[in-house]
């Protein structure tokens, strides 16, 4: 059952991925890479922006240190996402399962998984990630194989696919939750500031994402602390009903009073 839900949630991501990785493979072939290279990269990396930039750098003959730091800056946002995902997985997740799930952490998989109202299970995450990974690798294979005959006009239209999906993730909760709306607005403003201001726009995308989102989220978390971290905390209380846990929750409630 849970596996099925995961697969079902993974289908729209897989379709979005198919188009993006298709574009990636076509670009890699145009840059002069052999047919197997984009496929190998997609199968071992499973990340969007990082692959585009990394492949470009390799083509340009970049030094290893440059490739390393560029990948680190672009991908460091995953560390934040994994941290927040880790909180939704419960402490009974064995290490080897975490090691597998880690590979499937992407912007979209994360965004969909974190929206689940209940604790995440291995089968749900596996369904979600295997499905989207299939779309990612499938798109790369097709793009590498038949990129030359694909009409460029359609390619341009596919460029908007994942962005549109992100919009569909952030707008509905902004409608029902004023604090999310506030956060989305200041984040957009911050992003535009970095995008259009002369000196600031030389900063790489990875840094902009980290600086702007950490700053804006801190403001939102201070102004609107979550009143009911309820469901998560209650389940954890039942799972490990020790005194340590309870005092922590009590202290936590005090903090919340202070913030109000």
């Amino acid at each position: 059952m849970r596996l099925k839900r995961g697969i079902k949630d993974g289908i729209p991501i897989a379709l979005g991925y198919f188009s993006v990785s298709f574009a990636y493979a076509v670009l890699a072939r145009k840059t002069g890479f052999p047919i197997w290279f984009p496929i190998l990269v997609s199968a071992t990396n499973f990340t969007g922006t990082g692959q585009f930039v990394g492949t470009e750098l390799i083509a340009a003959g970049a030094a290893i240190a440059e490739l390393f730091s560029a990948m680190l800056i672009i991908n460091i946002r995953y560390t934040l996402m994994s941290l927040s995902l880790s909180q939704k997985m419960g402490s009974d997740f064995p290490l080897w399962q975490r090691a597998i799930i880690a590979f499937g952490v992407t912007d979209e998989n994360y965004a969909v998984a974190i929206r689940q109202p209940q604790k995440l299970t291995m089968s749900y995450l596996l369904g979600l990630m295997v499905c989207s990974f299939a779309g990612w690798v499938g798109g790369t294979v097709c793009g590498a194989a038949l990129g030359d005959v694909f009409p460029p006009s359609l390619m341009s239209a596919f460029g908007i696919a994942l962005y549109a999906m992100f919009v569909a993730i952030i707008i509905p909760p902004s409608r029902s939750d004023k604090s999310v709306l506030f956060l989305v607005c200041i984040s957009t403003a911050a992003s535009c500031l970095f995008y259009f201001t002369p000196v600031l726009n030389t900063l790489s995308e990875g840094w902009v994402i980290i600086i702007a989102s950490v700053f804006c989220t801190t403001i939102a978390a201070l102004l609107f602390p979550r009143k009911e971290p309820a469901s998560d905390q209650n389940t954890s209380k039942q799972e490990t009903p020790n005194s340590q846990n309870n005092t922590d929750i009590a202290a936590n409630d005090d903090n919340r009073e202070d913030l109000k």
Binding site: F33, R77, F103, I160, A164, V167, Y195, A220
Partner: protein, 106 residues
């Protein structure tokens, strides 16, 4: 590019990517009880996505006008709570039609 360049490059990309994804999943296994941190982690995805989408979505297509139209379609449909796939495919279609129209008119 030699074969070696490509293989080493791919290895570095894969290694760095996996480490950034795995490190906090493997190291931070305990649940965080602090309200601020909990709120922070609850809010962060919305902020990250907003920063990634705007204003980049406007420039994600060949011409700004089709980007604007695609963005408008995505905003309107998701305001009325359509699903991810519907929003995504509608935006793609809107961009494609818009660019087709521009090519015919100009």
């Amino acid at each position: 590019m030699t074969l070696e360049d490509m293989l080493i490059g791919c290895l570095i990309m894969a290694g760095v990517t996996y480490i950034t994804k795995a490190i906090s999943l493997l190291l931070f296994r305990k649940e965080i009880k602090n309200t601020f941190v909990q709120s922070f982690l609850y809010y962060i995805p919305y902020s990250v996505l907003a920063v990634m989408v705007f204003p980049a979505i406007l420039f994600s297509t060949d011409i700004i006008w089709s980007g604007l139209i695609g963005t408008a379609v995505a905003l309107i449909l998701s305001f009325f709570k359509r699903g991810l796939l519907v929003v995504s495919l509608s935006s793609i279609a809107a961009v494609y039609l818009a660019e087709l129209l521009f090519r015919i008119l100009l």
